[in-house]
């Protein structure tokens, strides 16, 4: 009885959802991990995007072909899990009235789910997921017309910077630690690739992996220590990174951690405590009010969400700017149809002033042979950050100008 009743009810519910509401909203979906180990990034990205959307809506909405349209957000939690991400993507792509999607933190989710968007031609701006595979999967598949864009500093850039930093600090022997997810594995591959490209001057004395949920890294760290590593190049997410930091402390193994941008996550910084100080990572955004461009966004975020510190500043700022760019693209397209929005994103006419930079045509026409056409960030727009006393600061104060300037394309 209950079963058939619920099937009937679901039938009714879904049939209602296909009847769209008043025609003056444009629907944008935000997906990401709002729970689990990656949650700080997902939540910050969402909150950053929400902030942009509420500011736009408050000023009347987007002007689309002369009519003012408000933005309606549909949010879905992919829990950082690949299969859940695929389900979420399936659900959104079958909704029929979604113009665009912003989101995804975990590379695996992008790899698994984005194909549904490509199938339906729905525009997606990936942020803040950094794994190269999220975009290279499309050039490998030879897709001609791609509605997927990335708005984050991808691993290729980050690995390059990590290796450069290690070399600049004078290290010759390093250990590489990575997690078993798509993100960690592709990070490892990018690191090894970069070491080769930069002249093979770094000797990888230990290569260890760990799983999500591992709390005790003693085994991996002992091996690294015994091999005489001078630094740990690491690709993982918050909780496990913290376990490495405290494990290092326990063994008296005082070497710096240099790794992917996830070292800026609040759950790493908070859990590792003092043992996390000194960790270095590439950042596109630093939560520093002295940076003129960033200040209004930081203040607005703090006020809107009642926090003194953004859990993942990079995710928040990227979510904010991505939403602004999307809104501009919709305006320039004069339509809510994904295909038009896509063209518009590839040919942005107006320079969008974001919290990270002034964005002048960040993307161009998709060329499967050159992934960079749908990548917004370059090496020059990324700086090195450092964990210090519970916050992320600029590792090299002289790089401040990068965060103040426009994007160099």
């Amino acid at each position: 009885m209950k079963v058939s009743r619920s099937i009937l009810a679901v039938l009714l519910a879904t049939s209602f959802s296909t009847v769209s509401m008043a025609a003056d909203v444009v629907k944008i979906a935000i997906t990401g991990p709002f729970s689990g180990g990656s949650a700080p990034m997902g939540l910050s990205m969402r909150d950053g995007a929400r902030l942009a959307v509420s500011q736009i809506n408050q000023s009347g909405g987007i002007s689309v072909a002369g009519k003012k349209m408000k933005i309606e957000l549909i949010e879905r939690d992919d829990e950082g899990k690949n299969d859940r991400g695929a389900l979420v993507a399936q659900e959104i792509s079958s909704m029929g009235d979604i113009s665009a999607v912003i989101g995804t933190v975990n590379t695996g989710v992008a790899v698994m789910g984005d194909k549904y968007y490509v199938e339906k031609g729905i525009v997606k701006i990936i942020t803040p997921a950094a794994g190269s595979a999220s975009m290279t999967q499309w050039s490998k598949a030879g897709v001609k017309d791609l509605p997927i864009f990335r708005f984050a500093s991808h691993d290729g850039i980050q690995a390059q910077m990590v290796v450069e930093k290690a070399l600049r600090l004078g290290f010759t022997r390093v250990a590489i630690l990575h997690d078993a997810t798509n993100y960690g594995v592709s990070g490892r591959d990018d690191l090894i690739d970069q070491i080769k490209k930069q002249g093979n001057k770094l000797n990888v004395v230990a290569l260890e992996k760990f799983a999500i949920g591992d709390k005790d890294m003693t085994g991996q760290l002992i091996k690294a220590k015994a091999a005489g590593a001078q630094a740990i190049l690491i690709w993982g997410i918050g909780p496990e990174l913290a376990a490495v930091a405290s494990g290092k402390e326990k063994l008296g193994f005082k070497v710096p951690m240099i790794g992917g941008w996830t070292l800026s996550m609040s759950n790493f910084i908070d859990t590792a405590g003092a043992s996390g100080n000194g960790a270095l990572m590439p950042q596109t955004f630093i939560e520093d009010e002295s940076i003129a461009r960033a200040k209004p966004f930081i203040l607005a975020y703090h006020k809107a969400y009642g926090v003194a510190r953004i859990p993942s500043p990079v995710s928040a700022a990227q979510g904010y700017d991505a939403a602004l760019l999307l809104a501009e693209a919709i305006h320039e397209a004069g339509s809510t149809a994904p295909s038009k929005i896509k063209l518009s994103l590839e040919n942005l006419k107006v320079t969008v002033k974001g919290s990270i930079a002034d964005w002048k045509k960040p993307w161009t026409r998709w060329n499967p042979l050159n992934v960079e056409t749908h990548e917004a960030f370059r090496r020059a727009t990324t700086v090195m950050g450092k964990v210090q006393n519970g916050r992320v600061i600029l590792a090299n104060p002289s790089e401040k100008f990068v965060l103040e300037g426009t994007n160099a394309n």
Partner: protein, 294 residues
Amino acid sequence: MDAQYLALAQMAVGGGLMGMAYALVAYGFQLTYAAGKAVNFGQGELVMLGAFAGISLAGAGLPYWLSVLGAMAAGAALGWLVERVAVRLALKQRNEGWILLTIIVGLFALSSVENIWGRDDRPYPAPWPTGAIDFFGISVTWPELAIAAGALGIMTLVELAKRYTMVGIAVQAVSADPDAAELCGIRSRSAITLSWAVSGVAAAFAGTVIGPVTTVGPTMAAALTLKAFSVAVVAGLDSGFGLVIAGIALGAAENLSGYVLGSGWREAPGLILLILALSLRPQGVFGKKIIRKV
């Protein structure tokens, strides 16, 4: 000492200390099994709740020791609740419905924790000095030692109570033969409830000592339940301090296999050992053989 052996020793010691936490959780199994032949399949969730209770109390300003005591009190209450809600009915019906019901209650507890405290892992604030103590080249942290001391302490206390207090002896009588005990005027139901409450205390305390080492989060529950179960079964559900030996052995084996085979294989030898132990000696290494009566 040769660096390689030292590394192995380090892994074994760290694992062994952690294993005492498993033994403590398994001790909770032993207590409830003795009283009513039932165990809490959601014991890991009780450990997790104890840890979170401790964190919240500490966050509210209570000093560490009080927060631990508070967590233990919460554990007692929760243990009572689980018995009342998930076990009593099955015991009355003399079936094994408690297996499913304790799983269900544990699931609800997990969901509640996810929503009340969030899904992220948190550090447990403990006043131990940071940094490690060096024992002949092996690093041991204070929280790890606290686990060992705490586990042994609680188990000893309860065992002493069992033997030397009237209440404890009454509970033992109920374990041996509930009907006979009733005839002597001992209320079996109260004895069973008491065992579950004490089991809850043990679990909650375990949470407060494990927390500082592993951080506290919803994911800690499931892993713990299985490991504690392994210890309980390999040692035998009525083996008393045999649990400690089994716990140390399992913890050490886990760490060593993670080190030698790779972190993903950590749990494997423990699990294989468990299946073997179950097939060859179901009553456990230290347990007494069950005599079938018809």
